[in-house]
């Protein structure tokens, strides 16, 4: 993985000192509330319902065991003993004290971590496929490009105060796992017919109040031109993005207002002016410098032959876990093993300090000391020898981290909702817990197959409800928590927004309504058809009829 050199270290240390001084000046009354707000946000510090919330950056979701131990230390020392992994591969702490945040940032800097630009109107954490570097269907490892982009976007002097937040994701696979089309910029690494590497560029995707799927603005951008093209997009956005209304300030609205052809023209015209700037052009040696941090691990060549050391079928629970929670790896004899953060009755994405410490040990023992975060709010040990899977499973089980539900209905994602967030209209954690209790029969869960439920407590859409197979959106109805359901969304290659099924539902009815959607699927499906495919075939009517049956009867 990428390791800081003295330049990176110096910058991050200077940032810690800067924020320490900003906090001091704010507490001394030298910075006013609006000024400090603009500054603390770009260090990931929100003011929430009960306490500040600190969001820590996990660049493209990659952590080493030392960093995980530090997160455990922070959870224990400054918080209530746990952290919350987010849909953007970051981690949040919900209970730190404002005065201690500079110390937390200093602790993070000691393990090459930071909270820079995890919030505020600036370029946020760069994300990618959680299987980067081990995926079989990958063209190249996207992480060197992510790291280059992370550095270019860190403290960029021109783009510190954009109209709104800005999210960039990379993907280098055919089967897309980074939700590119829901990002402000989605970069797909591709090869052109001449066999040269480059990028297909998508702009203007985003969830929130006006969910929009990203639009392709360029088929092929040469590999060395990445930063000049990103700079052109950001510059046009900084100049022309709307600032008068926060709900219309994302780049997706600019793309929509201009229309894709005109918007593309603006970008290309700006890019033409800077594409030959030697300071923006990447050099082969730059790429080589970053690529060397992501060389394949020293895999055991004999691992492929050891696979049958234990017979998985001898233990059905283990076999189930292997089937559900591990994924193919490009090296024979290895698997990528998911760590489910979706136990029965749990809060999706939550992880305790004890679990983090234990996971750090397991990563050291079984996965080259690395842990990844996924945008479905789980963790992943990317490089586990198949022969070690049984031991790993046995270690994960008592930690409550081996629930074999990856990709299933109960592997749902949700935002912190009204329980923590000052923006939320409604709770989402309670519904997640209720669903995980209702659907705890594994055989039934596997029979239902892949169903992606995504829940947000408000329009801002942190839980990505618009692209859930089933989306749940919390709305406020005269001070009560109500929920709007959508069907048929997807963040994968076939990205599209879900359709509203009808009027919103009360808290008392929403879980039954979701169950009604599931029952309708079971009745309508053909053979092994997935939930999403059945919906696409039969349309919304049967689902609608079932969910609103009661209302229709009484009407």
């Amino acid at each position: 993985m990428y390791r800081y050199d003295n330049y990176d270290k110096q910058l991050v240390n200077e940032r810690v000192a800067q924020f320490r001084d900003q906090t001091r000046r704010y507490l001394a009354g030298e910075l006013n509330g609006d000024e400090f707000r603009a500054l603390r946000l770009r260090n990931g510090l929100y003011v929430q319902r009960f306490a500040p919330m600190l969001r820590i950056s996990i660049p493209y979701g990659l952590l080493n065991s030392k960093q995980v131990r530090m997160l455990a230390h922070i959870a224990r020392t400054y918080d209530k003993g746990y952290g919350h992994f987010t849909t953007r591969q970051n981690i949040q702490f919900n209970w730190p004290k404002l005065e201690t945040v500079p110390d937390i940032l200093a602790d993070l800097a000691s393990v090459e971590m930071h909270a820079i630009q995890t919030s505020g109107n600036c370029v946020r954490n760069i994300t990618t496929d959680h299987l980067a570097g081990v995926a079989k269907d990958e063209l190249v490892d996207p992480r060197p490009y992510c790291e280059i982009t992370r550095q270019w976007s860190s403290f960029h002097p021109e783009f510190n105060f954009l109209p709104r937040k800005f999210k960039i994701a990379f993907s280098a696979t055919q089967h897309e796992r980074a939700a590119l089309l829901t990002h402000d910029i989605g970069v797909r690494i591709v090869k052109n017919p001449a066999g040269e590497l480059g990028y297909t560029m998508y702009v203007g995707g985003g969830l929130g109040r006006t969910p929009i799927i990203g639009q392709k603005i360029r088929d092929f951008l040469p590999e060395l031109d990445l930063l000049s093209y990103l700079e052109a997009i950001l510059r046009v956005y900084n100049r022309l993005g709307r600032r008068d209304n926060i709900h219309k300030a994302r780049i997706k609205i600019l793309v929509k207002d201009q229309g894709v052809p005109k918007f593309t023209e603006l970008i290309e015209a700006e890019w033409a002016q800077i594409k030959n700037d030697p300071n923006l052009k990447l050099r082969r040696e730059d790429l080589a410098h970053f690529q060397k941090f992501f060389r394949p691990h020293t895999y055991d060549k004999a691992a492929g032959a050891e696979i049958h050391a234990q017979n998985p079928s001898a233990n059905p629970a283990f076999a189930t876990w292997v089937q559900r929670n591990t994924w193919e790896h490009r090296v024979p004899g290895y698997r990528a093993a998911f760590v489910s953060l979706k136990p029965r009755s749990g809060v999706p994405g939550d992880c305790t300090a004890e679990q983090m410490d234990a996971l750090a040990g397991l990563a050291d023992r079984y996965s080259f000391g690395e842990i990844r975060t996924t945008h479905d709010q789980n963790l992943l040990l990317g490089d586990v020898k198949q022969a070690d899977l049984h031991a790993l499973w046995q270690a994960l089980k008592p930690l409550g981290l081996a629930t074999p539900n990856i990709g299933m209905l109960t592997d749902l994602i949700c935002c912190p909702g009204l329980d923590f967030c000052s923006l939320a209209n409604a709770g989402s954690i309670g519904i997640a817990q209720e669903l995980s209790e209702r659907y705890d029969n594994l055989d039934y869960l596997y029979d239902l197959g892949e169903i992606k439920i995504k829940m947000s407590g408000c329009m801002n859409g942190c839980g990505h409800h618009s692209v859930g197979h089933i989306g749940v959106l919390g709305v406020d109805k005269e001070g009560e928590e109500w929920y709007q359901l959508t069907l048929g969304g997807s963040a994968a290659n076939d990205a599209r927004l879900g359709d509203r099924i009808g009027p919103s539902l009360s808290r008392a009815k929403v879980v039954d309504a979701i169950a009604a959607l599931i029952e309708t699927y079971v009745e309508q499906r053909q053979e092994d058809e997935r939930f999403i495919d059945t919906y696409r075939r039969v349309g919304i009517e049967p689902y609608k009829a079932r969910v609103y049956a009661e209302e229709l009867e009484s009407a």
């Binding site: 990176d8 550095q151 900084n238 600032r243």
Partner: protein, 170 residues
């Protein structure tokens, strides 16, 4: 009034002129964009003139005027976007500054005015702004500390310091 010019505290010796006020015989004046457009010939002839521009201006419009302008005043303010919530700092003038310096090779003074607090200054400096008018209540001497915020940068900007990419591999 005191301001910061080229990283030092200095006296503000420029005259900000109302649109209706007569042109003084001497001294550097700063006029509105409207007045500049309306009286361009006379102002060019007089010389020693600067113009104040709004953040929405596409600075390429000034391209031919640049040789005649001693100073361009850029505006940074907190704005209150609808529908509710906190103020948002308008960063458009950072782009204006970079374009003026890097694309149009403007050599005169770039002056930042508005809601300028200490922590916005370092990026202004990097974007090529060399005169800073601190907001009321901000001690210019104290604001000089902003230039020490960071000693390195990942990007090359108008300040032309070599980026970390170049420092690593020349």
């Amino acid at each position: 009034m005191k301001l910061i010019r080229n990283q030092q505290v200095a006296d503000d010796d420029y005259i900000k002129l109302d649109d209706a006020a007569p042109l003084p015989a001497s001294g550097i004046i700063i006029v509105s964009l409207a007045r500049w457009r309306a009286e361009k010939d006379a102002l060019k002839k007089r010389g020693q003139v600067g113009v104040q521009i709004p953040p929405a201006l596409e600075v390429g419009e000034l391209k031919d005027d640049l040789p005649f302008l001693a100073c361009i005043e850029l505006t940074f303010v907190f704005i209150k976007p609808k529908p509710e919530g906190g103020l948002s700092f308008d960063g458009r003038a950072y782009t204006q500054a970079r374009l003026l310096r890097d694309r149009y090779a403007y050599k005169g003074e770039l002056r930042a005015v508005g809601d300028i607090f200490r922590d916005t200054i370092f990026a202004m400096h990097r974007c090529g702004i060399n005169v800073i008018e601190p907001k009321a209540g901000l001690d210019p001497q104290d604001a000089l500390n902003a230039f020490k915020d960071f000693s390195l940068a990942y990007q090359t900007a108008a300040d032309r310091q070599p980026s970390i990419f170049r420092r690593r591999i020349a």
